[in-house]
């Protein structure tokens, strides 16, 4: 250091005195810049600060169809997948103002952290606003999410071990009920739609059935379509018989004389069949067939509607079943892997570590300060 020594007078101009002066300055500097702050820090961390106890617990949100843990994607890791979504939700909820409110109202959060026995630097100011309390909350409660294992780690710091454990347990309980709410709501949402669809299909089907029964009880026919089909069949048989009878008659004409008993019998048979056929034709398409046709046209849409309703009903039934399976697969629940620990020793402050950190920091600041001042001074001496 090129301090302007000549201003100090001739007495300091010997090497020994110069050395002694430098050493004194160094000691004074170290004393003021390092030793004194370190002593103060030791007093602060060792005596003043109220010890804090940390309770640690870990939990996870499990899905019924647990997806595999996401692959370790290093550089091109994309947006976290859905697997971690539930855990993130729980994390957000655990650090939310709602959770803080719950702790304040039911677990004496303010009473514990604003207690008079706590030193004034770490005490919560009871008169502070809700934002400050929330900041304080975030300082003492921590939820860490490990996406590779899908694990949530809850750390709670309080001024005695029991309270830390109690707060941690309260958060776990509240989180669990939140997950359950979320899960059951998702399930009812999913199934209620399919349930409504099924109910509609049921009414439709029973209405179609009732309409059909009513139509049956009104008319004489049980099933006009069936009757008509039976008539058609009868007619077809009669036609076939008539044709074969006519063929036999023409064959007889070649072999037997006119008026032979066989001929007469055959002719009678043909005309009887013809009469019968005309009668059936009349029943199908003639005047007397009108009622049958009317019955058919009345029945047809009812039958079709009933068929459709049946089909709709069975599809609604299967979609409800699918929704149920889906919802069961979507079921989420909170699994506590490690219950909140009961710390036997205070984890904070770590006096040795804190003081050491402070010491190193003091040295660095002192060193840089000295070097910078020296550099500035050099500019003045040019």
């Amino acid at each position: 250091m090129n301090a302007p020594l000549e201003t100090k007078g001739p007495a300091v101009n010997t090497v020994r005195q110069l050395r002694r002066m430098r050493a004194r300055r160094l000691v004074r500097r170290l004393g003021l810049g390092v030793v004194l702050p370190t002593i103060l820090a030791t007093l602060y961390y060792g005596v003043l600060v109220t010890p804090q106890f940390e309770s640690v617990s870990s939990f996870t949100v499990q899905a019924a169809d647990a997806p595999a843990a996401p692959q370790l994607e290093l550089i091109f890791a994309s947006v976290p997948g859905n697997a971690g979504r539930d855990a993130q939700l729980v994390r957000e909820h655990a650090l939310s103002r709602d959770m803080l409110k719950h702790l304040i109202e039911n677990h004496g959060f303010i009473e514990h952290y604003a207690d008079d026995s706590v030193d004034f630097t770490s005490r919560l100011d009871a008169s502070s606003g809700s934002e400050e309390i929330h900041d304080y909350y975030l300082d003492h409660f921590e939820v860490e999410y490990d996406s590779a294992a899908g694990l949530l780690k809850l750390r709670v710091r309080a001024f005695d071990a029991e309270s830390a454990q109690r707060f941690a347990q309260a958060i776990l309980d509240k989180s669990e009920s939140m997950v359950n709410d979320l899960s059951s709501r998702a399930r009812t949402d999913r199934t209620s739609l399919a349930q409504g669809e099924l109910e509609r299909a049921e009414t439709r089907l029973s209405e179609a059935r009732a309409a059909l029964t009513e139509a049956q009880s009104e008319g004489s026919e049980l099933d006009p379509v069936q009757s008509a089909a039976a008539l058609y069949e009868l007619r077809a048989q009669l036609e076939a018989q008539l044709a074969s009878a006519r063929a036999e008659l023409s064959a007889l004409r070649g072999t037997s004389a006119m008026g032979s008993p066989e001929m007469v019998a055959q002719q009678r048979r043909v005309s009887a069949l013809q009469r019968q056929l005309d009668e059936q034709n009349e029943r199908l398409v003639g005047e007397s067939g009108a009622s049958l046709r009317a019955a058919i046209s009345r029945f047809e849409p009812l039958v079709v509607e009933k068929e459709f309703a049946e089909r709709a009903y069975s599809s609604a039934l299967s979609s409800l079943e699918m929704a149920r399976v889906d919802a069961a697969r979507q079921h989420r629940y909170l699994v506590t892997l490690a219950d909140p620990s009961h710390p036997s020793d205070a984890t904070y402050p770590n006096v040795l570590w804190s003081v050491l950190t402070f010491l190193v920091l003091c040295f660095a600041v002192m060193g840089i300060g000295t070097l910078l001042v020296a550099s500035v001074r050099e500019h003045a001496n040019v």
């Binding site: 996401p70 590779a148 001074r377 003045a380």
Partner: protein
Amino acid sequence: MSGAVATLPRGELTRGLMAQLRVVHALALRETRTRFGQNKLGYVWALLEPLFWIGTFAGLFEVADRGTPGGMAIVPFLATGVVTYELVMKTANKGSQAINGNKALLFYPQVQTLDLILARGALELATYAVVFALIIGGWAFTVPRVRIDDLLVLMNGLLLAGLLGMGLGLVLCGLNVLSPTVERIRGPLFRPLFWVSGLFFTAESLPKQVRDMLLYNPILHCIEMVRTGFFPDYHARHAEPMYVGAWILGLFFFGLTLERRVRHKVQLT
């Protein structure tokens, strides 16, 4: 420190400070000529370089069909990363070359190595702040509404990045004097930082094990801070300004001590 001040005539320190400020100012002005002066495009290059990076990576993201974490807009997402990273690297780079590039100037007793590094660092910081503003300003024309969450946090992130670069530059500059090998291995040593500093990802989007490892890198903290300041709905829970501060303190302490150690070697050559 206070003891040292007390033993001195107070005027001397102020005088020295004013002189140093004048030196740094003059050096910074000189740097604006020499940094970009030879090239025709000059200052525009400072803007074009990050723009190329952003363009390349925006294209890559598009091709890979990969979204940005948390649905951030791609241009500011990359701009916050690239500009902050470039700021650290360029400042460290310029700082490490401070002695080699300005040996002639060091013959003047007023000019010290620290002044050169401070001047270069200040210039880089200003340049990249302007570059960032220009990129964001240009991007702002293409979107209906831009909202910067917290300008102070953003600037704090950039400032820490600049200081970090200066600290690195100071140390490298001192090591350069000791051995020219340092200059050779600096490139390969720093290159991996490009991939692990969070230019294309956020700390939040990483698995815990990887994140815990990458968070030792102070540049990642700077980028996370800049992003926290820029994006209203992004909050980097893992960014620790104090951690970056510790790095800066350590680097400056080491660098300044080193500079004093090697000073005589420079002036002899």
